[in-house]
């Protein structure tokens, strides 16, 4: 799914784009991947760790895109304020052959950035690899076209994600946490993150998104069925409410545990029932995603701090610090729900920066 072409850079003398182009490395390559849905508030590039985000003007985009395609989509591009994750590669890369090495180097950063943004607040960000990915070297360009290709440049996405100051401030810590071995080496946490991310699928129907969200819910908080939950056994609603950063914690427990609300919705989705859902809000997916967002973020940070918390965990239950992170987290939620001050303190310390 790759295209190759050659284009000369043509900018108005003295323009912002010309200065930007002059600053690119003369040797090596420049990579840019479209982040569909993400908006940054100003034209200046944003650096987060080793990640550089840039809002391209149409003239910058033309440097990578086919001229005719860029001309066709000029209006949509200007309207969309498109953000690209860019990377300066100081070595020459083989544009005519597979670019796995270049992709691999970027893939983890791109995936972690996408996950971290989604874990910080609501807003539409579509998988960048389903859009267009460019690599320019000299005047040669290689374009990797994802499943939806340039339609994501044209798409009028609702509820785009604005990278505001608060999110920007919280982003580095969460990005660091996502790249720690406590997360990357734990497949069970990876499954929760993956299901949460998959619920943002561009082409998915509502029921399919809900199926991913309920998978992420149980992968984060433990199984719905109370007898399958770790001791002290509390309902999934109570466990989720204890880590919520919103004020409406009672509403969360009520929604998830009520046999006619969250529980019914989950069973309807998981067993493919076509029974109409009466009395369940149409935006239940947003509520569910918010519940998972708070819980999953807490699980991720807890996993990275688990070793440092071993004394407190042992005081809750002998051997708890030696349990896998997710099981220890779910046990911690049980203790917090039953009023343990130690457990509540651990959770409130983790969640403090994120409380609305």
């Amino acid at each position: 799914m790759a295209e190759l072409s050659a284009t000369h850079a043509q900018f108005s003398p003295g323009s912002m784009e010309e200065k930007w182009y002059q600053a690119l490395p003369r040797k090596g390559a420049f990579s840019a991947i479209h982040m569909p849905g993400l908006r940054i508030p100003f034209q200046m590039p944003i650096l987060i760790g080793d990640i550089l985000l840039e809002r391209f003007s149409w003239k910058q985009w033309v440097l990578f895109e086919r001229t005719d395609e860029a001309t066709r989509l000029k209006l949509e591009f200007d309207k969309g304020l498109h953000t690209f994750l860019t990377c300066r590669i100081l070595t020459t890369v083989p544009l005519s052959s597979a670019l796995e090495a270049v992709h691999l180097r970027q893939r983890n950063s791109i995936q972690n950035l996408t996950s971290a943004l989604r874990l910080l607040k609501e807003g539409t960000i579509i998988d960048p690899y389903s859009s267009v990915h460019y690599i320019r070297q000299g005047n040669q360009i290689r374009r990797e076209i994802g499943t939806f290709g340039r339609s994501l440049i044209e798409a009028d996405l609702s509820d785009k994600y604005m990278l505001d100051a608060k999110t920007f401030k919280l982003l580095p810590d969460l990005l660091n946490a996502l790249s720690e071995s406590a997360i990357t080496q734990d497949p069970t946490i990876g499954l929760a993150i993956r299901s949460f991310d998959r619920s943002y699928g561009y082409s998915l129907e509502h029921e399919e998104k809900m199926a991913f969200l309920f998978s992420a819910l149980e992968a984060t908080f433990g199984e719905y069925r109370k007898q399958n939950r770790p001791k002290p056994k509390v309902t999934i609603g109570k466990a989720a409410a204890i880590v919520s950063c919103s004020a409406a914690t009672a509403g969360i427990a009520d929604f998830l545990d009520d046999a006619d609300k969250g529980k019914k919705l989950r069973n309807t989705i998981a067993h493919g029932s076509s029974e109409p859902l009466v009395g369940i809000s149409a935006d239940a997916d947003l509520m569910l995603r918010e519940i998972i967002r708070d819980g999953l973020r807490c699980l991720i940070i807890f996993a990275t701090r688990k070793t440092a918390l071993s004394t407190q965990l042992e005081s809750l239950k002998a051997g708890l610090s030696l349990e896998p992170a997710k099981l220890a987290f779910q046990t911690l939620l049980g203790h917090a729900s039953t009023g343990s001050a130690t457990a509540l303190k651990i959770i409130s310390d983790i969640q403090a920066p994120y409380v609305h």
């Binding site: 939806f148 044209e154 493919g272 076509s274």
Partner: protein, 297 residues
Amino acid sequence: MFEAGKDSLAHSQIYVHLPYIRLTDPTLEIEYESGLLRSLDYAEWKPLDQEAAHSVRFAFERASPVFFVREASPSHDHETARREMHNLYLALVFSTGAHIPEPGKSISYMKTGRSIFRHVGIFDRTAVLHGPTRLLIDAATIEHATTLVPLIRECSLLLEAPEFRQILRTLTSTATDDFHAIDGIVSCVIALEGLLLKNVLSGITARFIKRTCNLIMGSEKDPANLQISIKTLYSLRSDALHGRDWKQSLSQTSKTDAQWFDYATQVLCRAALATLTSLKNRKDVGVALDELRIILD
């Protein structure tokens, strides 16, 4: 999304793209419903898509996309042609179990005099220019699929039932290039549950295995292992949905997740076909499905 453009071509013709499908031989032309399934020359496609088609000759010729091409007439308009292709698409999926998305996700054109109407799906032009290829077809593939089209037409009422709408949505959704194997397995099993397990509140797993096996046994190549295979599918679905590490369950089988996904799709297709065949004359769809479920116990 609809687009309109102008062109100087005189004939009124309809072109519906079949995403992720190629001809075994690009020169083949296969007759279907007074039209032809064939690859287009770049020169023939370019005027249909004008500026979007400009300078993508290499990608177009490499992808060699297949279109259903037929003359337009007052009784065969753009919508009719798209419906015809949808029926053929269902027949192709049911007969091959291939992971191919419905034509509505890609692009179709209707050329009327100097005007060109385009129906642009979620793939935009990506599937036309870049594939991927999931199914190679020849005259025999279409001939076999065509035998199912009358059944599909006959069952239009049944295909509108929520249970079947979910099956059709699953088949096209899981075929999209960015769908992962484990998610495909979960979706296929959920769609099967929707078909077979209405109002079952206990003993769900056992009932699912029994009803699925009884429904598809007639078309099973390996009946001795059918029960174990269906049980494995349900275990993988439950692991993924309950947030457990499904790779542990997978490691106890001799297949990869991609192979299980293929199998899940085939089981879903066979179950759908068996249900359509068995209930094709019924108008009381809800009652008929309830009766079928009881018979399968």
